[in-house]
């Protein structure tokens, strides 16, 4: 009994490990009955052929045998490794194909097709695998299985197995989970007392899928008994209370997340428009170029460094910054230099540039969107509560926006270049007299603004589409943030972005996305009328 020593003390909960082991063995034996341990070829075939209904009946039979080794085949079925080849059923793995009836090695023919598992069969397969895994020796496997079973649909053939597993379970946490699983199945029991007990057990959970189960039980064709109904309503109320806090937190998070995107999009403009006064209609296209730079870096990684593909995004950040900064400097040197102080012409010229950039990208990469993949570490999220998942890509963008903001603030307020930029924007003549090369500073400042727009492009490529028109959808928002925050103010842009983000998410929750957009625009218009200088007026001797 060497392995029993490996059980940590707290797991034992009074039952001797050896007793537990034999109990497990006993359960497995009961369920295996007189049948063979492994799945027969005929059973394997029956699991993949015919209508969903028949296949699921077969799955129930397999489950009733309580044979843990069946999970191997079920998993293969779930992973699309099982193929139908004419009248044969094959398991195709990296090592080759095996015929399930004969166990022979064969080669799949051209016509071999994957078994079609619709969502219903897939979830039944997953639930069955999890149920069988409850019989595992490994506590972590059992825990994962019990968690997986939370909120799965009621199925009485699984109940038997789950109840037995619960009885011999020694780990308190797993047992509590199993109790809830059993309760959610027993909610449809014929016995009123059982149903009442089940409702009481479920009230302790704050799982939204259990809430779904309880509320569907309350629906017209569900529970009929008034007492049980009251118990279910009580349980629902308790779960709702638990969920409400997280709902509010979720709303704030989405608001901040939208705000951080607005901020990233507007930061570059805060330099080119806010500080330099250039109405840059091509600002959106700078973001678009940044996003395409990400796409190019991604392809380079795919081609030359596929092993490090995960980290392409980090390489894309400097690449996008440098490329867009370069394009920005080029535009400033070639076009904008001769247009300073002529806002109308600047507006037209930059609009023209934006059209040229869009069309060139369309000619180079095609009119269709290009595919930018999220690295694996950006997919998914942290599950704070059952109804609150914080996606990694949103967290990344919030952190990224904060980082860019801090870097930019340091650059503007602490470096020599920043000093020059501030000097030139406040009083060009005086700065020039003091020996500042104003035309070089102009070029660098515009390059900086464009580069930051490029960084925004990297972030946007992770949450939305990368296509030639990417910039168009953000240009209005960017101007809105800068104007609302007060032209010439970085802090203003931050407050305006977060404010607009949270406000529009708040409206969206109340009135829907279309109305929210309109409401926000109306508010901004009224605000600008009442306070044309924006949230924060520029305090200083600004020369217009």
């Amino acid at each position: 009994m060497l392995q029993t020593n490996t059980f940590p003390k707290h797991e034992c909960l009074g039952i001797h490990p050896a007793v537990r082991f034999f109990a497990m063995l006993f359960v497995s034996l009961i369920f295996s009955g007189n049948q063979a341990w492994a799945l027969t070829g005929a059973e394997k075939v029956a699991l993949v052929r015919g209508e969903s209904e028949q296949r699921l009946q077969m799955l129930d039979k397999v489950l009733a045998q309580g044979d843990v080794t069946a999970t191997v085949y079920l998993q293969q079925l779930l992973d699309d490794a099982v193929r139908l080849d004419g009248d044969k059923v094959l398991i195709v793995t990296d090592e080759g194909a095996t015929n399930v009836m004969t166990g022979e090695r064969t080669k799949p023919s051209e016509a071999a097709e994957e078994v079609i598992n619709n969502n219903r069969i897939q979830s039944e397969l997953e639930a069955s695998i999890a149920t069988l895994n409850l019989l595992s020796q490994d506590a972590s496997v059992r825990l994962a299985a019990a968690q997986k079973l939370q909120g799965t649909e009621a199925n009485s053939s699984r109940l038997l197995l789950i109840a037995k597993a619960e009885k011999v379970e020694t780990d308190g946490k797993i047992r509590a989970l199993l109790q809830q699983v059993r309760a959610s199945i027993e909610l449809t029991s014929d016995n009123k007392a059982t149903r009442l007990a089940a409702a009481a057990t479920l009230a302790a959970s704050s799982n939204s899928s259990i809430k779904q189960m309880l509320s569907s039980r309350l629906a017209a064709d569900g529970e009929t008994d008034a007492e049980v109904k009251a118990a279910i309503t009580q349980a629902l109320k308790k779960i709702d209370r638990d969920l409400a806090t997280f709902e509010l937190l979720g709303q704030v998070f989405t608001g901040i997340s939208l705000g951080s995107i607005l901020l990233l999009a507007a930061l570059g403009l805060a330099v080119t428009y806010g500080l330099m006064g250039v109405i840059n209609m091509a600002h959106g296209e700078m973001m678009m170029i940044g996003a395409y730079a990400t796409f190019l870096v991604q392809n380079l990684f795919l081609k030359y460094l596929p092993a490090h593909f995960q980290w392409y995004l980090l390489a894309a950040i400097p690449a996008a910054f440098l490329l867009t900064a370069l394009v920005g400097i080029l535009i400033e040197r070639s076009v904008l230099r001769s247009l300073y102080g002529r806002p109308l012409e600047t507006l037209l010229a930059t609009w023209g540039i934006s059209l040229i950039l869009m069309q060139s990208v369309r000619s180079l990469f095609g009119a269709q969107n290009v595919q930018v993949e999220n690295p694996a570490w950006m997919s998914g999220g942290i599950e704070v509560a059952a109804n609150l998942v914080l996606p990694y890509n949103r967290i990344f963008i919030i952190a990224f926006a904060a980082l860019v903001l801090v870097m930019m603030w340091l650059m503007i307020s602490k470096t020599r270049l920043g000093l020059f930029i501030r000097a030139v924007t406040q009083n060009r003549g005086m700065a020039s007299c003091s020996g500042v090369n104003t035309s070089k500073v102009d070029a660098l400042a515009f390059g900086l603004g464009s580069g930051i727009a490029g960084l925004a492009g990297v972030a946007l490529s992770q949450i939305g589409n990368v296509g030639p028109a990417l910039g168009q959808s953000y240009i209005v928002d960017s101007f809105m943030v800068v104007v609302l925050g007060g032209v010439g103010q970085l802090a203003g842009a931050v407050y305006a972005a977060l404010g607009l983000g949270i406000l529009s998410k708040f409206f969206e929750g109340m009135a829907g996305a279309v109305l929210a957009k309109i409401l926000i625009l109306v508010i901004v218009i009224i605000f600008i009328q009442k306070r044309p200088q924006g949230l924060f007026a520029f305090k200083g001797r600004v020369i217009d």
Partner: protein, 421 residues
């Protein structure tokens, strides 16, 4: 560098070539039949419509190779209405009165079709419209080769109500804010009522074109889903689908818990998307690229070869989809009708269209209804796979007849199933 002299020179070359083209087409006017192609090649709809233009050109080239129609070669006239709805009408008028095309293949959004309709009626032109739409229309001058609501939307929702589709009890109707989603959802709401689903169990939401932040909507769907088994019916159009599906994946809303069935998401729309988080979500169409049958194998092979020879930017990964198949069927059926009528005269071709049959890449024989200008098509429901293709999980045993006037809209039962003469 373009110097002024160069510029003048190049302009005059262009002018000369235009003039040449003009005389060339005049000279050929007698022995070619002109065919108009009216799809947006720039602007927001370019993403979807560009491939339809290319598919039309491929089909025309194929017909020409086999000797053309009535012994004449087809001559495509391609115009770009640039996703600008009024411009569609202008370009249609130009095709009909200036180029004198015998037939036009074009339009994607319902609003563009509504824009050109008066032109085709006034000048008695002929339009083939290849995209699924909301119905509520039946015009003598138009043949609809895409699906009507009963060939896509209704069967898809029936599937969601079935056990295999998850036996949904609550529905989220989510769409882009314009005529197609609004009308479709009106029909679906009436259909759901007929299945005993109450208004409290239906959530209807719209987003503007190009909406990209679906956090709130996905959170709302999640909250709504706690009230009972929920399914989402998405009529989101264009590239808004990408951020929507990404949000679904990241928020942990799996197809097994809350399946999303989409009516405007096909292979081409998923090209720019990482499909892994979307696995298991559904789409309803009349054709999928993944279908295995001889007609589709040939269709895909032809398309891949054409994309390569025409050096299309997408030639590296040639994709086919439902509206492309509908375009292909439409042009071939028009050819058959012209041959039956012995002329390209619009009224005679319209009369010859009824009952035309064509072995479609879907593996079924598509048939033009004798009267109602719509195709009899099979309905299929596919689940998204990790590679952006669809595996068919359900299909009708055979083609079904279109009902352009949905019985789920009041007053439609009195409307005749054929266009007014």
């Amino acid at each position: 560098m373009i110097t002024r002299r160069n510029f003048v020179k190049s302009m005059s070359t262009i002018a000369a070539s235009i003039a040449l083209m003009g005389t060339a087409s005049l000279a050929n006017a007698a022995d070619t039949i002109k065919v108009g192609i009216l799809h947006s090649l720039s602007g927001t709809m370019a993403i979807s419509e560009t491939s339809l233009k290319d598919m039309a050109l491929m089909t025309i080239a194929e017909i020409n190779k086999k000797g053309g129609v009535l012994g004449k070669q087809l001559e495509p006239v391609v115009v770009d209405p640039a996703s600008d709805w009024p411009l569609f009408a202008t370009k249609a008028r130009q095709l009909l009165s200036q180029d004198k095309v015998a037939v036009t293949f074009g339009c994607w959004t319902s609003v563009s079709r509504k824009s050109v309709l008066p032109v085709y009626k006034e000048l008695n032109g002929l339009l083939f419209y290849p995209v699924q739409y909301e119905g509520e229309e039946l015009e003598k001058n138009v043949f609809y080769t895409g699906a009507a609501p009963n060939q896509q939307a209704i069967p898809a929702v029936e599937y969601l109500l079935s056990k295999d589709g998850g036996a949904a009890k609550r529905f989220v109707l989510l769409g882009t804010d314009y005529v197609y989603p609004r009308t479709t959802n009106k029909i679906l709401r009436a259909f759901l009522h007929s299945k005993g689903i109450k208004d409290a169990d239906i959530m209807e939401e719209y987003t503007p074109f190009g909406h990209s932040d679906y956090q709130t909507i996905v959170a709302n769907i999640k909250k709504f889903a706690t009230g009972g088994k929920t399914a989402v019916v998405s009529t989101i159009n264009g590239d808004s689908n990408v951020p929507f599906y990404k949000e679904l994946g990241n928020a942990g809303l799996k197809a097994k818990d809350v399946p999303v069935v989409a009516f405007s998401v096909g292979e081409e729309e998923l090209r720019g998307v990482d499909a892994k988080p979307l696995v298991g979500h559904l789409a309803a169409w009349n054709y999928f690229m993944s279908l295995k049958n001889p007609a589709n194998d040939e269709f895909k092979k032809k398309w891949a070869a054409y994309a390569k020879s025409a050096k299309l930017p997408t030639a590296g990964k040639p994709l086919t989809n439902d509206p492309m198949e509908a375009t292909y069927i439409g042009i071939n059926m028009w050819k058959q009708a012209v041959e039956k009528a012995g002329t390209t005269d619009v009224n005679k071709v319209i009369a010859a269209m009824g009952g035309q049959k064509f072995v479609a890449p879907s593996g079924f024989t598509a048939e033009m209804d004798a009267k109602n200008h719509h195709l009899h098509k099979p309905v299929m429901i596919g689940e998204v796979k990790a590679d952006g293709q669809f595996k068919v999980v359900w299909k009708t045993p055979g083609p079904i007849k279109a009902q352009p006037w949905s019985p789920f809209i009041a007053g439609n039962d009195k409307k005749p199933d054929e266009p007014a003469k």
